[in-house]
Amino acid sequence: MRREPPKSLADYTPLFFPAIMLVVFFVMPFSTMIAVSFFKRDPAGFYTPDFVIDNYARFLSAFFGRVLGFSLMLSVMVAICCVVIAFPFTYMLTRRSRAVQTVWLVCLLSVLSLSEVIIGFAWSTLFSRTAGITNLFVWLGLMQEPVALLPGFGAVLTGMVYQALPYTILVLYPALVRLDPTLLEAARTLGASPVRAFVNVVTPALRNTIVATLIMVFVFALGSYLLPQILGRPQHWTLSVLITDQAIYQSNMPFAAAMAVFLVLISLALVGLTLLVGRKENAL
């Protein structure tokens, strides 16, 4: 059946339900949030309609500048760690048999779908004094007595890398699995070792994929909201944590909305950048 342009109104019928649902329950909530970001806070209820830009002016303060700076720095670190670990891993995975790949993909999807609550709980247990990894070190005779490894920056970073690693591997997987095998054969025939072929042929060929993945993982990490709370101290809180905090505990919806709109703008700019990088890749 060839694709045809819709001729009558009846041809549009399948589109009705999805269009209504997406407009009413996605476009409208989004617009409401943007509107609320200009409203005034009402300590008694949610907000009162108004048009003020205080909410935006407020995060030009040094405090929010610091939080934003920390969020960006943390997300950059998570993205770099994940891509550095995941790129060679995913490459090796795509060279393995289909059965091995399938088992790994099932495991990666299972970890990826884990709730942030559970990841936070699991790592806080692993880093705790009573039930943590240091007990193992004591048992092995490497340490005198168990210590708590949290809260702290290291714990937050580890938790977030854990959360983003399966995502990174699954984002890299399609590009690496589709990599033209003749490219490698050529390199091997010319006498390159597997490691050399990987470093000198595979990595440069997928430079744009790597850049696009870095940006995608960065946006993913930017969305982390529970791990900094569970594994870190208040100075490790990110913009996402502050948004949740303002919306729920401070019930300052307009301010939370203004921060969310700001986060949308950053994310959209980065997603746009990813698409631009991706397009260049396809043009090659």
Partner: protein, 267 residues
């Protein structure tokens, strides 16, 4: 030889990193006493029984399962006609709906969650259980949309062409040719949405968090009062469900293709 050894080592290291927190949690979940200890002291499965016996945990479990079942069904109901329309018709502007379907998944979840909170509060429906189902359906519509688009793309158009030259109308073609062909993709899309909804915290919390507890909300709330082995048991339970569902998808379908490998014939 040395390289193969290093490669093995690297795989084991990544596997250990991914498994370590889960191993500790699984160990904690079988402790005999209420203490959080690892290696576990004694062995008991009573904390698993608690999920079903303790009224609060059981209520959270039922709330989560009902929410995941309904929201995944609704997500498929939105994605199926949309994916079908995009495959069947040339209407470039309709791609905007595909973009809308993918957006909530690409943006940081806090944003979508806050959008729902402001929306439901503004229209005065805040806290109704069904609002969480709609919110989750929109939040996860991306998954069935992506799998179904893959499914439609895999259909050989000449096959459908043959059916319509034999006199079948759109409806008959859809029912007898197209639906059976995309059924595996539909099931996987549903399963992906189901598992992720079961694990989702922030959207559920911002829509119904003050009136109802789903399992992730219950775990997070319980975390504030200290750790209990029941949380560990619930966590293991979640991993098991996810592994089971994705394992079934891999068993009956082609998970590599669903995740972007070109076709099942290659490699």
């Amino acid at each position: 030889m040395k390289q193969m050894f290093l490669r093995r080592l690297y795989f084991v290291a990544v596997a250990l990193f991914l498994a370590a927190p889960l191993i500790v949690v699984a160990g904690v979940s079988v402790n005999e006493k209420q203490d959080l200890a690892f290696p576990p002291v004694g062995f008991s499965l009573s904390w698993y029984a608690q999920i079903f016996l303790d009224p609060e945990w059981r209520r959270a479990l039922i709330a989560s399962v009902v929410l995941a079942l309904t929201s995944a069904a609704l997500a498929v109901a939105i994605a199926l006609p949309l994916a079908w329309f995009l495959w069947r018709r040339i209407a470039p502007w309709a791609n905007i709906f595909q973009l809308l379907g993918v957006a909530p998944f690409v943006l940081p979840p806090v944003i979508t969650a806050l959008g729902f909170l402001t929306f439901w509060a503004t229209v005065g429906l805040y806290g109704q259980p069904w609002t969480a189902a709609i919110s989750h359906a929109i939040f996860f519509v991306t998954l069935p949309l992506v799998t179904l688009s893959l499914g439609f793309a895999s259909i050989d158009r000449s096959l459908v062409e043959a059916a319509s030259t034999m006199g079948a109308d759109d409806r008959t073609v859809l029912k007898t040719v197209v639906l059976p062909l995309i059924l595996p993709y539909l099931v996987s899309g549903y399963a992906f949405a189901f598992v992720l909804s079961l694990n989702e915290y922030i959207v559920a919390y911002m829509t119904i968090g003050f009136v109802m507890e789903t399992l992730p909300i219950k775990i997070f709330n319980a975390l504030r009062y200290g750790y209990t082995p029941t949380m560990a048991a619930v966590s293991v339970f979640f991993v098991a469900i996810a592994a089971l569902v994705f394992g079934l998808i891999a068993w009956f379908g082609d998970i590599r293709r669903l995740l972007g490998a070109m076709s099942s014939e290659e490699n």
